[in-house]
């Protein structure tokens, strides 16, 4: 690969790449971690082989790409320029795709997305309701980039923002542009990025460092993983621009242990960028020197916190420390350090190329640009959604997410992970905006949006988050460690039917101290899930405590599985499948669950034929005695 010694070199390379691929079709296969769980690797290989077999190799380019966003439907295959989008593609579909669509230009109807309401088959990706109202400024490029090819990124205009910065913008000018854009940290805190860069630039001390925080620990959030797998160069370019603006000579990318493909892809990206002279010494002939090191996490959610991340980089325990001093003045090795989230860095090249005004054209007054959300849970269309700030929660959940499946009712959407809160139906018209969500007692967080339905117990949700935090807290400070411990004990009691009068008030009291006295943001926000579920679903807590009942029929200790004798057709299925051998009965004898043996695994409910529907869950009521005298079955 020839070294690019100037912006002009980069331009000519881009032109060459565009010329080489002019007129070629692109076949883009989602092959990131989610796709691979559904054998996208096999699909990709089969496509490449079949295309070669049919002699079509010269006319098209096949790309193994990161996530396109519609994860529920992966693996998806996108054919450009027509924009034909095939969903749920299996290896056995490949030959048809090649012979019909790629060779003959005919669409394979059965592989198209079908609109669930109209039944209409949709050909073009942009017309699919899931994608229609999105603004995929950042994530959208995943479709056009093969995960192993820097050339794809360059062909799209990649590194042109860096070239622009290095050949004509002073560092203060760069910082001004980022400030003007209103970009705020996408990792959760929402601190104005330009201001953060400025603090670091002005701080005394050498060398300075810039860090990419890819420790994405919020359960249910995987936006950063998809960006790092699918478009690592966008992050590298942003990091380079930031390094130039701040005056940093060294960069670190901290990737959590659980993201091996992201590590692999970013390491490949770094190597290829170095070969082109886009990293290392005298970048693009500008005199800028910059090295990047990739550092793996070792399984600690708390290391997503800036100061804990820095400690981990230094080979120490991931314990946060109090500020001041802030990392901008004293960070890695005591030097001025700027840490930003993956998505924050990825937005920077766009801001430089298209301008701060363009960035501000989307969003609200206080929250500009777009945000990538992982929209998951009890939802028809789960996946990654990039929406402009200001779109309402309802629009995201229903218009993009498609609403709740199986005819169930929406109950709440949880945002911000373990630091966040739940938002009930009545507040779905809230626009997504940093301040708006904080006012509700939730937070934007890193972008996790978990949709919950009537079968979700929100007391159990609070317990779930506290249980998570109890293990992830570093354990150093008393309010976090002991406060979470005691709150969890109370929640366990409540979910197990041993709640007491005064428990809710005690939870609120402990929560207040945890919030105000903890050392770091993990502790300070640890009480949010509890306080927010109490705020909007207090009655659910009260029913658990006063009636020992779980309205959502979820809390294991408060529910019993019961076979309704009038509905049971004695088909023997649940009897045979019960792993605890807790069901008695026979061919014409009503099946009965022995509650003393039942482990609440739910298998009987799962396997009872839907037309009988004899298994049900009860809560807060005494299980009816088995009818001993009437052992016959009522045949239907």
């Amino acid at each position: 690969m020839p070294r690019l010694n100037s912006a002009v070199n980069l331009d000519s390379l881009r032109q060459q790449l565009l010329d080489i691929n002019k007129g070629k079709k692109v076949v883009s296969v989602t092959n990131g971690t989610d796709g691979r769980t559904r054998h996208s690797e096999v699909v990709f290989r089969a496509l490449t082989d079949e295309i070669r077999k049919q002699g079509l190799g010269g006319k098209l380019v096949v790309k193994s790409t990161g996530c396109h966003g519609f994860c529920e439907q992966e693996p998806t295959v996108l054919i450009l320029p027509e924009e034909i989008c095939y969903v749920g593609v299996k290896p056995e579909d490949v030959s048809e795709i090649v012979s019909q669509t790629l060779a003959e230009g005919e669409v394979v109807e059965r592989l198209l997305y079908e609109d669930p309401t109209s039944g209409e088959k949709i050909v073009k990706e942009s017309e699919i309701p899931f994608y229609k109202s999105q603004n995929r400024n950042v994530l959208g490029n995943n479709r056009f980039i093969d995960m192993g090819r820097i050339d794809d990124y360059i062909a799209l205009g990649g590194y042109s923002a860096l070239a622009r910065v290095l050949s004509g913008m002073t560092p203060p000018r760069v910082i001004d542009e980022v400030k003007k854009s209103g970009l705020r940290g996408r990792g959760g805190a929402g601190f104005p990025t330009g201001m953060k860069w400025e603090f670091c630039r002005k701080a005394a001390g050498e060398p300075k460092y810039v860090i990419v925080n890819c420790d994405e620990g919020d359960p249910g959030a995987y936006m950063d993983r998809s960006l790092m797998e699918g478009n690592p160069h966008s992050v590298l370019e942003g990091l380079l621009i930031g390094a130039y603006a701040i005056g940093a000579s060294g960069g670190y990318i901290y990737v959590r242990a659980e993201y091996p493909l992201a590590v692999e892809n970013v390491e490949t990206a770094i190597k290829q960028a170095e070969e082109y002279g886009l990293l290392g010494h005298n970048i693009l002939g500008s005199g800028l020197d910059f090295q990047i090191h990739v550092h793996r996490g070792a399984g600690a959610f708390v290391c997503g916190e800036e100061t804990a991340l820095i400690a981990s980089l230094e080979g120490r325990i991931g314990e946060p420390r109090q500020r001041p001093p802030f990392p901008a003045t004293s960070g890695l090795w005591g030097k001025p350090t700027n840490i930003n989230n993956v998505e924050t860095w990825a937005n920077v090249p766009l801001i430089i190329n298209k301008g701060a005004d363009w960035f501000r054209s989307l969003g609200t007054e206080r929250s500009q640009g777009t945000k990538i959300f992982s929209l998951v849970g009890k939802l028809k269309n789960t996946g990654l959604v990039e929406a402009p700030m200001g779109m309402t929660l309802g629009e995201i959940v229903f218009d993009i997410g498609g609403g709740i499946p199986d005819g169930k009712k929406f109950k709440a959407v949880q945002t911000g992970g373990p630091s966040g809160g739940v938002i009930p139906e009545s507040l779905l018209d809230t626009p997504v905006d940093y301040e708006e969500l904080s006012e509700l007692g939730a937070i934007m967080g890193s972008g996790g949006m978990i949709v919950m339905d009537e079968d979700t117990c929100l007391v159990d949700v609070a317990r779930y988050f506290l249980n998570f935090l109890a293990g992830e807290s570093c354990g150093k400070c008393v309010p976090c460690r002991e406060g979470i411990y005691q709150m969890l004990k109370i929640l366990n009691r409540i979910c197990e039917g041993r709640g007491r009068e005064g428990d809710i008030e005690l939870l609120e009291e402990i929560g207040e101290t945890v919030r105000d006295f903890s050392l770091c943001a993990l502790g300070k926000t640890a009480a949010n899930p509890v306080l927010s579920t109490i705020k909007y679903f207090r009655d659910e807590y009260e029913v658990h405590i006063k009636e020992k009942r779980c309205p959502a029929l979820a809390c294991k200790e408060l529910i019993t599985y019961y076979i309704e004798p009038e509905k049971c057709q004695a088909c023997l299925i649940c009897l045979r499948d019960c792993p605890a051998e807790a069901i008695t009965g026979d061919k014409k004898i009503v099946h009965v669950i022995d509650q003393s043996k039942c482990t609440k695994c739910g298998t009987c409910l799962e396997v009872c034929p839907p037309r009988f529907g004899a298994v049900t869950k009860l809560s807060g009521v005494k299980v009816p005695e088995p009818i001993r005298q009437k052992t016959g079955v009522v045949r239907k």
Binding site: D34, G220, A221, Y222, G315, G377, K378, T456
Partner: protein
């Protein structure tokens, strides 16, 4: 304090050398050792302590603080259940129960015959297919109790 080692482990020394014996690379060193040897023995920790010049108590804290490390040998087959929020909401606890009952061990444990280790993860990033079980790198979305039992038996026979 110099620890006398009965026999220095060459693999460990190689990994330390790869990071030029840099103290701050402690966690990266341990990650690689864990990956190669599937656990961190007392001798290994002592060796790393001596080679990197980091106090043994510090290393113990790090080895017990970060969940990527195991101070006991892991089973031949790894079973991981995702307990991320999206999977949680889609029934991960019940899946966990099913797996735990089938393997007869709890999360964080290794079966007595050292065949299986069971772990939890807080989000593997494949929320669309949740709840998720991973067995030796193979992902299973929404497995029923029967499927769980089938997969485990197949692995038992494999051994």
């Amino acid at each position: 304090m110099v620890q006398t080692l009965t026999e220095a482990d060459k693999e460990v020394d190689e990994i330390v050398a790869k990071y030029q014996g840099d103290k701050s690379a402690l966690i990266q060193v341990l990650i690689e050792v864990q990956r190669q040897k599937h656990w961190l023995s007392k001798e290994t920790l002592k060796q790393v302590s001596q080679r990197l010049g980091v106090a043994l108590s510090q290393i113990y804290h790090i080895a017990t603080f970060y969940k990527a490390f195991s101070l006991t040998p892991r089973g031949r087959h790894s079973v991981t259940v995702c307990l991320g929020t999206a999977c949680q909401v889609r029934g991960a606890p019940r899946l966990m129960d099913n797996i735990s009952q089938t393997l007869k061990i709890n999360a964080g444990e290794t079966s007595p015959d050292e065949q299986f280790s069971l772990d939890t993860a807080s989000c593997l990033g494949c929320c669309a297919i949740g709840p998720v079980m991973v067995v030796d790198g193979e992902y299973y979305g929404k497995p029923s109790r029967k499927e769980v039992e089938q997969v485990i038996s197949a692995k038992e026979i494999e051994s």
